[in-house]
C-alpha cells in the first residue's frame, strides 16, 4: 500500500486539466517510476495524486500538420525506441531512452515524466535539448508551447503552470531534417544506473559531406539542468570535417559546462569525460551523416 492521501484519476486531457485546477496541491503521476518510489521513501508520502497514466490519447508518435515529429507525453521509452518514425528521423532519441534503467522501467517510464521531473541526468533530456525540442502544455486557457531550454527552470523545477499538464514533445522539421546524431551515456553499470554524465551530439553536413553545416551538443549532469555547449557549436559550425575540428570542438565544451562534485563522480572527472564524450559523439555523428575522416 502506498501512503497517499487521495488518488484522482483522469481518463482524458480535459479531465486531467480539470483535476489540476481543482487540486493545485496534488502531484501528477504518469508512469510512477519516480513518484511512487519517492512516496515509498517518504519524500512524497501523504500527498494527493492525480493519475494521468490511463489518458491513452497522450500515447503515440506521429508527424503532425506542421511536419513536426509529435511524441505524446505518455509514450513509453520502449515504444519510442521501437517506433518507425523515430528510427527514421531521430534514431538517437530511441537509442538514448533505450539506456534508461532496465526493460521493465523502459516499459513504464514516459518521456513526459522524464522531462517534467526537471532532472539533469534524464537520458532523454540531453538529446531533446540538442534537437531543440518544443514542449507542449495544455491548461485551462488552452495550449502553450515553449522551447525545451526554457521549460527547465532549475534543478527539479520546470515551467508547468497552474492547471497545466504536459501533452507532447515536438521535434520541428528544421531540426530533424538531414540530421544525424549520437548519444553517449557514461554510467557505472550498463543497466539500472543513472548517468554520471550524458552527451548528445548531432550534425548536418554539406551536400559534399566535407563541411559541418550545423553541429549541436547538449549534456546531462554537466550543470544543474541539461545544457547546450554554444562555444563548442560555434567552433564546429562551418568547419571542415576533420580530426582537427573534432579535437577543437571537444576542448571548447569546457567553456560551457559546469559539472559538480557529487558522490557519483568528481567535477574534474566529469570535465575529463565530457571532452572525450564530445569527441566520440561528434565523430560518430559525422560518420552516420555520411562523412569520412
Amino acid at each position: 500500500m502506498y501512503d497517499m492521501k487521495e488518488l484522482y484519476e483522469a481518463f482524458s486531457v480535459e479531465e486531467a486539466v480539470k483535476l489540476r485546477v481543482e487540486h493545485p496541491e496534488a502531484q501528477v503521476i504518469a508512469g510512477g517510476s519516480d513518484v511512487l518510489v519517492q512516496m515509498r521513501e517518504g519524500k512524497r508520502a501523504g500527498k494527493e495524486l492525480i493519475s494521468i497514466y490511463l489518458v491513452d490519447e497522450l500515447r503515440g508518435i506521429r508527424i503532425d500538420e506542421e511536419e513536426n515529429i509529435r511524441i505524446g507525453s505518455l509514450t513509453s521509452f520502449s515504444h519510442i525506441t521501437k517506433d518507425p518514425i523515430i528510427q527514421k528521423y531521430i534514431n538517437v532519441l530511441g537509442e538514448a531512452v533505450d539506456q534508461v534503467g532496465g526493460p521493465q522501467i523502459r516499459n513504464i517510464g514516459t518521456i513526459g515524466g522524464n522531462t517534467c521531473n526537471g532532472v539533469t541526468s534524464a537520458d532523454s533530456s540531453s538529446t531533446l535539448h540538442a534537437w531543440e525540442a518544443v514542449v507542449e502544455l495544455t491548461g485551462p486557457e488552452g495550449v502553450r508551447r515553449l522551447p525545451i531550454k526554457d521549460f527547465y527552470i532549475k534543478a527539479g523545477t520546470v515551467d508547468i503552470r497552474e492547471g497545466e499538464i504536459q501533452t507532447a514533445i515536438l521535434i520541428p522539421k528544421a531540426s530533424y531534417e538531414n540530421t544525424y546524431g549520437y548519444y553517449w551515456k557514461y554510467a557505472m553499470r550498463n543497466a539500472m544506473d543513472i548517468a554520471t554524465t550524458g552527451c548528445s551530439v548531432n550534425v548536418r553536413l554539406s551536400p559534399d559531406k566535407k563541411t559541418i553545416e550545423r553541429a549541436r551538443i547538449a549534456y546531462g549532469v554537466a550543470a544543474p539542468v541539461p545544457v547546450r555547449a554554444p562555444h563548442a557549436e560555434a567552433v564546429a559550425n562551418g568547419a571542415p570535417v576533420s580530426e582537427e575540428t573534432v579535437g577543437k570542438f571537444a576542448l571548447a565544451v569546457l567553456e560551457d559546462i559546469n559539472p559538480r562534485d557529487s558522490w557519483r563522480a568528481g567535477k574534474a572527472f566529469r570535465q575529463h569525460i565530457s571532452v572525450e564524450m564530445a569527441r566520440r559523439c561528434l565523430r560518430a555523428s559525422i560518420l552516420r551523416a555520411g562523412g569520412a575522416f
Binding site: G102, Q104, N190, A191
Partner: protein, 167 residues
C-alpha cells in the same frame, strides 16, 4: 479518503475478472492478496529487482511500482498462467530446472515472465541482446549464466534451431 475502494475490471491469466481494490494498493498487493498469485514476489518494492515482474498487454512491468487501479482493461499474466492443466511445467520453466537456473527461487518467476516476453517475440537474439533484455532482474544466487542458457536454449528450440554446447 472518499472512494477508497474502486472497481477494476481486467483480464487475469486469460479470465475476465473484477475486483474492488484499495486505490493505494500496488498491482503486487492486489495479485498477491486478492488473487493469491504468490509467484509475484515482493522484493525491493522500488522497481529495481524484477521479482514482481508480470506481463501487462504482452510487455514486462514491475508490478510493485504499478498501481492496482491501472489494471483497468488490461490483460495481465503471471507465472501461474504457464502451467498445463495438470500442473505441467512449460518449456521455459523446465529449461530453468534443467539448466539449474534456480537456487533460492525468489527471482525465478520474474525472470521466467521476462523470458516469456522474449520468446513470444519470435525473434532470435544474440547473447548481448539477451543479457540486455534480462538486465531488469537481480539474482543473488546463480551468477546469471545458467539463466541465460535456459532462455537461450528454449529460444533455439522454439525457433527450430539446433543447440550445440558451445552456442
Amino acid at each position: 479518503m472518499k472512494d477508497q475502494y474502486r472497481l477494476v475490471e481486467f483480464n487475469l491469466n486469460g479470465k475476465d475478472v473484477s475486483c474492488m481494490v484499495d486505490c493505494r494498493a500496488s498491482l503486487t498487493d492486489m495479485l498477491r492478496n486478492d488473487y493469491r498469485l504468490t509467484s509475484v514476489k515482493k522484493g525491493c518494492e522500488v522497481g529495481e529487482c524484477g521479482a514482481c515482474n508480470v506481463l501487462i498487454d504482452g510487455e514486462c512491468f514491475n508490478s510493485c511500482i504499478y498501481l492496482a487501479v491501472w489494471a483497468r482493461g488490461k490483460k495481465i499474466r503471471t507465472l501461474e498462467s504457464l502451467l498445463g492443466p495438470n500442473g505441467e511445467l512449460s518449456d521455459i520453466q523446465q529449461a530453468f530446472v534443467d539448466e539449474t537456473a534456480v537456487q533460492c527461487g525468489f527471482c525465478t518467476p520474474g525472470f521466467v515472465m521476462t523470458a516469456v516476453e522474449i520468446l513470444e517475440s519470435g525473434k532470435v537474439y544474440t547473447d548481448d541482446e539477451l543479457r540486455k533484455l534480462l538486465s531488469g532482474h537481480l539474482c543473488r544466487c546463480t551468477g546469471y549464466e545458467n539463466i541465460l542458457r535456459a532462455v537461450k536454449k528454449t529460444m533455439y528450440k522454439r525457433n527450430g534451431l539446433e543447440w550445440k554446447e558451445d552456442n
